[in-house]
Amino acid sequence: MSDDEFPSHAGTVIIGAGIVGNSLAYHLADQGRDDILLLDKGPLPDPGGSTGHASNFLMPVDHSKELTHLTQRSIEQYEEMDTFTNSGGIEVARTEERMEELKRRVQSAKAWGEPGRLLSVEEVEEMVPYLNTDILEGGFYSPGAGTCDPLRAGEVMRARADDATGGGLTVSPNTEVLDMHVENGAIQAVETDRGTVEADEVVIAAGLWSPKIAEMAGVDMPLTPAVHQMVSVGPISFFEDYEGEISFPVVRDMDTQMYERQHGNDLEVGSYQHRPILWDVEDVPSIEESPLSPTQPPLTEDAFAQSMADALEIVPELLDDPQAGVRHEIDGLLSVTPDGMPLLGPIQDVDGLWSCAAVWIKEAPAIGEAVAQWMTQGWSEIDVHASDINRFYQYGTSEEFVKNRAHEGFQKIYGIVHPAEQWQSSRPLRTSPFYSRQEELGARFFEAAGWERPQWFESNEDLLDTYDAELDGLLRENEWDARWWSPIILGEHLHMRDHVAMIGDMGFGKFDFVGSDVVEYLERMAVGRVDVDVGKAVYTPILAENGGFVSDLTMVRLGPDHYRVITGGADAGGDRAWFGSHIPDDADVTMIDRTESLCTLGVWGPDARNVVQSVTEEDVSHEAFPPYTAQEITVGEVDAWAIRLSYVGELGWEIYAPMGQGQRLWDTIAEAGEEYDIRPVGMGVYGTTGRIEKGYRLHGHELELEYTPAEAGLTFHGVKDAEFIGKEAYADALEGENAATLCTLSVDDHTAESGERRFMLGSEPILDGDGEVIVDDHGRESYVTSAGTGPSVGKHLLMAYLPPEHATEGASLQVEYMGDQYPVTVEVVGSRPLFDPENERIRS
């Protein structure tokens, strides 16, 4: 572990030696990489990035399962390295609304397997005697929370990496990257002020400087430096009697978006309430030019004024200690992304180049581990798909977009964020050719991967009267439950089931694969048999080697050597990267991205054939155009291509047309449908009500790396002869008993203790009859993967994985929602649809 010799070649180069780079070095070494160069432009152990000024506390409970599990795993690692102090943490509420939110914290804690409970004001006072509890309503206690020493952890991890590689780790501090050499779409070398090192793979773990490094390789990373203001007040005499770093729980004053935590005899006061202050990475000074460090510019005083007032209100006694003063005050710079999540994974336009950026101290050790696993084995134990850097591929990397979203997202860090909350800035960005027509119809647009998709149409409000009787008992009284939702969705759903609806554009990713080796290649990618007749559509899981889900999607054979892969919009970037990275170097396979050139309009419902046939040159009868097949058709004047399948369980087609002819397609179908009262309906039907009645799974909800097709009930392909990624694990899973099976449940009684009828939104824990959270043999909690109303079955439905002892149809369980428990019944074990179980509608 010496920096004497700067190597001319390294297997792996890690750029950045903050907590993330160190964690990567250790875990890559642990995973078998044995020739690693870890470099940083700054000195060690504190190279001057965010690691050096973080407040270093870890509050494990988040509403995101991914983040919670990453923090839990990080705490384990810090603990194991003897760099963790378990102080506990408390989120306090100043308002009733926040108390409700804290109930949701308890709910998330249970769902993700982390202890946590509500505290009365008296309990808060007992645990943190210096708080002014007069202004509080209560708190949420996270006993597992604590503080870490990331600089020390970095040292330990470097030493371990060196051990694990038998001296194969070279650490090179004070080494600045000057250029990245890319040839033939692959990373070749990293040029530094100490020399150029050829590399097989390079990871950018350079925190807020990451985009600058990426730019040298010709790629964008959507990340901006943003200010988090922090001051340290001391010496506080109250803490004199307590030895060491921290003796009281970290306090998050959620409603003022601040935290107060003991650090020795100081109190650290941090804030996210101030106006967003975003930096341009080019303005971040060099180490030499920084009085403290590059990421610790002077405090912007006026922005901190309200934070001081709020801090003085909640911890007056400590802050008014006559000996104590503000000893340290900074605008701490950290990395912010458009959606607040990290940027992990392969950067798909440059082979061998990886991103591991926008990572907080509280997730860094686990993220280093996950990315190391991803790099070495293609999958990680903790599914980090929500952090996949490719989620912004092709749309979300402009500086303007990043700034707008970072600006907007800053207030969400401590905010009360509804699970369906929509972004407001940088919209509309991606619109289909149907957009202006939909806008005229009062569409309420939700965004997915930048695409504007109608969630429902105000013009369909009349359906509420039409279906008044059917909707009885399904309407949401509570504002939170009904936020970002409309009962019109249910009306649209019932209209589709009775008549016909048009839905689009879904924002699908569309990739064509051509070449003489395409069959062999796609067989390797998919669980389902791909070598089918031309015109056949195959819905198939895509697995990692562990047998867990990378994706689920549809492959259609367009010709002997030509396939089209269609996948969900949110997953398009990641799927593109996965498929692209698995094309063998010597194979004759070309990927053509059709995402931006084709639009999709779904026409579904009992009258779908009548509508489509009336404007289509070709015969679309059941015999001429059977289910799960695709054909080129001409709709009016539009040259289109259609697949007969449905995610809502109805007769009908997904009709694809060139974007330029999309509006004409819309108008043609709308006009032809007039006599059948065709209605445009939203993604509320497509993504929630329609699919949940049909038991259709959604990647990122039901389908994750952590679950197998056997558990998800997607075993209909059996085990094909051809080799494919994950085959062995998949076959084993089919053989063995499921540790948990995906079930559909219905809510028996919606009545809360308050008497109000409540509707779950997803991510709630499932409890057994004793009120205990159900956990399977793999240690996975049972929680609601998706929730949605099924208007045609008259029930509010939940999907959840249940272990065998509970996966019994008719079994009674409970779901916890906002502090109350509700009885639920297991309706279906496995993937059988609750509505139209024989799929007669699709086959009609």
């Binding site: 000074p285 030019e289 009085p291 002077p298 005083e301 004024a305 802050l319 503000v326």
Partner: protein, 257 residues
């Protein structure tokens, strides 16, 4: 006892200094501003003396509008009042500065505020002319001692100590007097959060300085950043074998043995 604390707004260096393109001043965009370290002690001393003997501590600076930031730092440290002699930001030489300060001291005396003690830094961090204190004293006909690292006031006498090899030389001076101090005379306090809040809203007395900018007969041509030696430490040796080298350094280079 009323104490006047004179301070100067300067860039907060402590990092590599970058100059503006015309080489006339420091580019402070990454640095922010502060006051000289001696002057933090000036304010602390003023407050302590005023507190100990009854009276007020008054902070004064000659500088641009932005220098109110440093005055507020003084107020946040619990100084009682602050005055700004507002300039357009150009550099004032020691003579002009001293004239302006002496003049405002006379003005305030006419208005009823007489200072028993005028404290300044021994020298400013940036220009280090070592003269303003002496010039103010001579202008006002007051006694003056510079470079003070300990100070006590007994009745009308200031007992001031200056560090010399092996000890301290002590001066006993009748008040009113001008005393320039060095860092180390006290440990300047950090302002409390509440005091910072209060200081944000306190009134600052603003005046036009008498005189004009100008350095007199010492005219700045340009600034230059010298080649710095930022090389790593000289390695004295490995393990205990280096002990003789350490002793040598402690004896001759640092003279602490």
């Amino acid at each position: 006892m009323n104490v006047l604390a004179c301070i100067k707004r300067v860039p907060n260096t402590g990092a590599k200094i970058v100059l503006t393109d015309d080489n006339q001043r420091i580019d402070a965009s990454n640095l922010g501003f502060t006051m000289s370290p001696h002057e933090e002690c000036v304010i602390e001393e003023a407050i302590q003396q005023a507190d100990a003997h009854g009276g007020s501590a008054h902070v004064l600076t000659l500088g641009p509008e932005e220098a109110t930031e440093q005055l507020r730092t003084g107020l946040a440290m619990q100084a009682d009042e602050a005055s700004l002699l507002e300039t357009d930001g150009s550099e004032w030489g020691p003579r002009a500065t001293a004239d302006a300060i002496a003049n405002v001291v006379r003005e305030m005396a006419e208005d009823g505020t007489e200072f028993d003690l005028l404290l300044l830094g021994n020298e400013s961090a940036d220009a280090a002319n070592y003269q303003v204190g002496v010039r103010v004293a001579r202008e006002l006909g007051l006694p003056c001692v510079t470079g003070i690292k300990s100070l006590e006031v007994e009745g009308d006498t200031a007992i001031a100590g200056r560090e010399i090899a092996g000890g301290e030389e002590i001066y006993e001076i009748d008040l009113p007097a001008v005393i320039t101090v060095k860092e180390g005379i006290n440990e300047p306090r950090y302002a409390s959060m509440r005091a910072k809040m209060r200081a944000r809203n306190m009134e600052i007395d603003r005046r036009e300085p008498v005189g004009t900018a100008g350095a007199g007969s010492l005219e700045k041509v340009r600034l230059e950043t010298p080649e710095t030696d930022d090389s790593a430490a000289e390695i004295l040796g490995e393990g205990p074998e280096a002990v003789p080298e350490i002793v040598e350094i402690l004896e001759s280079e640092v003279s602490v043995v």
